[in-house]
């Protein structure tokens, strides 16, 4: 819009600034709190300026954690979260790409039935099926393992559905041209469909990674071994102590927030590139 109305401009900026402030303030508080001395945060008033114990707090949290609450070092918890989130993300993408490919490009018996079956599971969040899933995972003796943390969350109706919708917009001639060019189904998938889906894959990667990273209830249920504690679980555990050590918790919170931010920053280039390069 090319308009010259100063007061409207000012108004728009005010709204934006308030919005940004609302989002940024809690993050700022978390960062400030993570740099304070242990007793500073228990006085009732929250300091608004960074303290001097930042390095100390982060080092302690990163290396040793809070042993009184059974929380291992942040390094381990972040690693656990990262492995779980990556396994979930990659697994979800892999499975949903393949199942969408099957549903869109192959004609087999009960194709629509399977599609609707997948679609219906969209309506069932993890929490609804958590007890039976727990039973299955326990029976397969996958408690306290990365497999148990990630595999039950890997199937994704949302991603399958989105990829199906995308594949259906790929012109049929693309497949036909590839067939004439001597590409078998999997070659077509690998050489044509995957590169065309990069934008969608990048976007879903971000969404799925954050979904995996933020998993709380499921890891809580199936891991008892502190070696498998994820960062989200760990933070919760630290806060449920009688005297929560807020300076350490806040340090953990800041560290927990970083990986998703990094993933977004990294993937953003991919999907912006994808968005500008897609043309059929």
């Amino acid at each position: 819009m090319v308009e010259n109305r100063p007061w409207a401009n000012g108004f728009a900026h005010t709204v934006l600034i308030i919005g940004v402030a609302l989002v940024v303030f809690p993050v700022y508080i978390a960062i400030v709190a993570s740099t304070q001395a242990p007793d500073e945060l228990l006085r009732g008033t929250l300091p608004l300026l960074p303290g001097s114990h930042g390095i100390e707090n982060y080092t302690q949290m990163w290396l040793s954690g809070v042993s009184s609450t059974n929380s291992p070092s942040a390094a381990l918890m972040l690693w656990n979260s990262f492995v779980m989130a990556m396994a979930i993300t990659v697994g979800k993408l892999f499975i949903s790409l393949l199942s969408a490919f099957a549903i869109v490009y192959f004609r087999f018996r009960f194709r629509m039935f399977f599609f609707w079956l997948i679609f219906v599971t969209l309506m069932l969040p993890v929490e609804v099926r958590i007890i039976p899933t727990y039973q299955v995972v326990a029976d397969l003796s996958m408690l306290n393992s990365f497999a148990g943390l990630s595999i039950p969350l890997i199937a994704s109706a949302t991603a399958t559905f989105l990829f199906r919708q995308f594949f259906m917009t790929v012109p049929e001639e693309m497949l036909e041209a590839a067939r004439v060019d001597g590409a078998g189904p999997m070659t077509f998938f690998k050489d044509i469909l995957l590169p065309l889906s990069v934008t969608n894959i990048a976007a879903l990667f971000v969404i799925m990674f954050i979904y995996g990273w933020n998993q709380y209830l499921w890891p809580l249920l199936i891991t008892t071994d502190p070696d498998y504690t994820t960062i989200v679980m760990g933070i919760q555990r630290m806060t449920s102590e009688e005297n929560p050590q807020w300076h350490l918790i806040m340090a953990a919170v800041v560290m927990a927030a970083l990986p998703p931010v990094l993933v977004i920053l990294f993937m953003q280039r991919l999907f912006v590139k994808g968005l500008t390069e897609t043309e059929k």
Partner: protein
């Protein structure tokens, strides 16, 4: 290079829809055959059956001496040019051309050589490193052609390749396709709904209607002696005028009509065979009023209303005759320009 033989080729979709109702056709090695017909006549389906993209319900399809009914498109040794080009958007032009060769296990330097040769032939060398989206419509069209000809296949199949181009470019590409085919002498099957494209490109034309062949012949044969009323109306622009013999007789034109072959009840007259001045040959005379005058530069189209008739009739004359809308015109049609048809069977009556 090979001939293509279609024997009783049929395509039936579920629910008894017959898209192609038994086509017999032999395409000679090196011949350029154009399938032409209105939309929905089954021409694209037929081409796609030859390509292997549609299954064949019934009949035999041979490329060379080999029956290829159940072979995959890649195994048929054909190359296809699609209407919307179907270039791979994420690959450079070079890779678009090379992809088919790569899948067939060609050696790297062989691929390189073939791509260069094809690119040179089509004058797209400068774009080899670009992605398709950076190309204009005409350039994309060339890349699509290049993808077909790098493989040096037994046959080219064209599915309305020019219909996405603007009028000027279409004429240019048409000429280029023709020249290219002459040079390579690759058997080609070309589908179009544009009768001008069909006339100018094909060694032979196959006019299709409702899943059946109406007529097969050289463009001039089909233009000069359309076998059915459908062909007469479809080939040639503006379309042939159809007048009933009863009407002509009522207009007092019975003299020249005496020796029309038995069974003729409709005659077709090309717009160019209707003259404003009497010819020397025996002719018939019709009176009309000029309803609309259309000047097209080198020629003019006169839309006239014949006396005592609601039949719209078009006359094509060269230059611009000194007439105005509303004028009464006397039209002269030479006897030899009449195409005799029977309107019940739709067939031409052989004279």
């Amino acid at each position: 290079m090979a001939s293509i033989t279609l024997e009783g080729l049929k395509k039936t979709y579920s629910g008894d829809a017959h898209a192609v109702k038994g086509i017999d056709l032999h395409i000679e090695d090196g011949e350029f055959v154009v399938l032409v017909g209105p939309s929905g006549c089954g021409k694209s389906t037929l081409l796609r059956m030859v390509a292997g993209l549609e299954t064949i319900t019934e009949g035999t399809l041979k490329i060379g001496e080999r029956v290829v009914n159940t072979l995959e498109p890649a195994e048929r040794d054909i190359a296809m040019v699609f209407q919307n080009y179907a270039l791979y958007p994420h690959m450079t032009v070079y890779n678009n051309l090379a992809y088919g060769l790569k899948n067939r296990g060609f050696k790297k330097d062989d691929i390189e050589k073939r791509v260069r040769v094809a690119a040179q032939m089509l004058e797209i060398e400068a774009f080899l490193d670009r992605k398709p989206r950076k190309l204009s419509g005409g350039q994309r069209q060339r890349v699509a052609m290049g993808r077909a000809l790098v493989r040096d296949p037994a046959a080219f199949l064209f599915d309305e390749p020019l219909s996405n181009l603007d009028a000027k470019l279409r004429v240019q590409m048409r000429v280029e396709i023709k020249q290219l085919q002459r040079r390579l002498k690759t058997t080609s099957l070309y589908v179009t709904h544009d009768q001008l494209e069909a006339m100018t490109l094909g060694d032979r034309l196959v006019v299709l209607n409702a899943g059946q062949i109406e007529q097969v012949g050289t463009p001039m044969e089909i233009y000069a002696r359309p076998a059915t009323m459908f062909v007469a109306g479809f080939i040639g622009s503006p379309a042939m005028n159809m007048l009933s013999v009863d009407y002509l007789t009522a207009q007092g034109a019975d003299g020249p009509l005496d020796n029309l072959p038995e069974g003729t009840d409709t005659v077709g007259i090309r717009p160019d065979d209707m003259h404003l001045a009497p010819p020397h040959a025996p002719h018939l005379i019709l009176d009309s009023t000029l309803a609309l005058f259309e000047a097209a530069g080198a020629e003019s189209h006169l839309y006239v209303t014949l006396a005592d008739s609601a039949q719209p009739t078009v006359i094509r004359v060269s230059g611009q005759p000194p007439v105005a809308e509303g004028d009464t015109l006397r039209i002269y049609v030479p006897r030899h320009a009449l195409h005799p048809f029977n309107s019940t069977t739709g067939q031409r009556i052989q004279d």
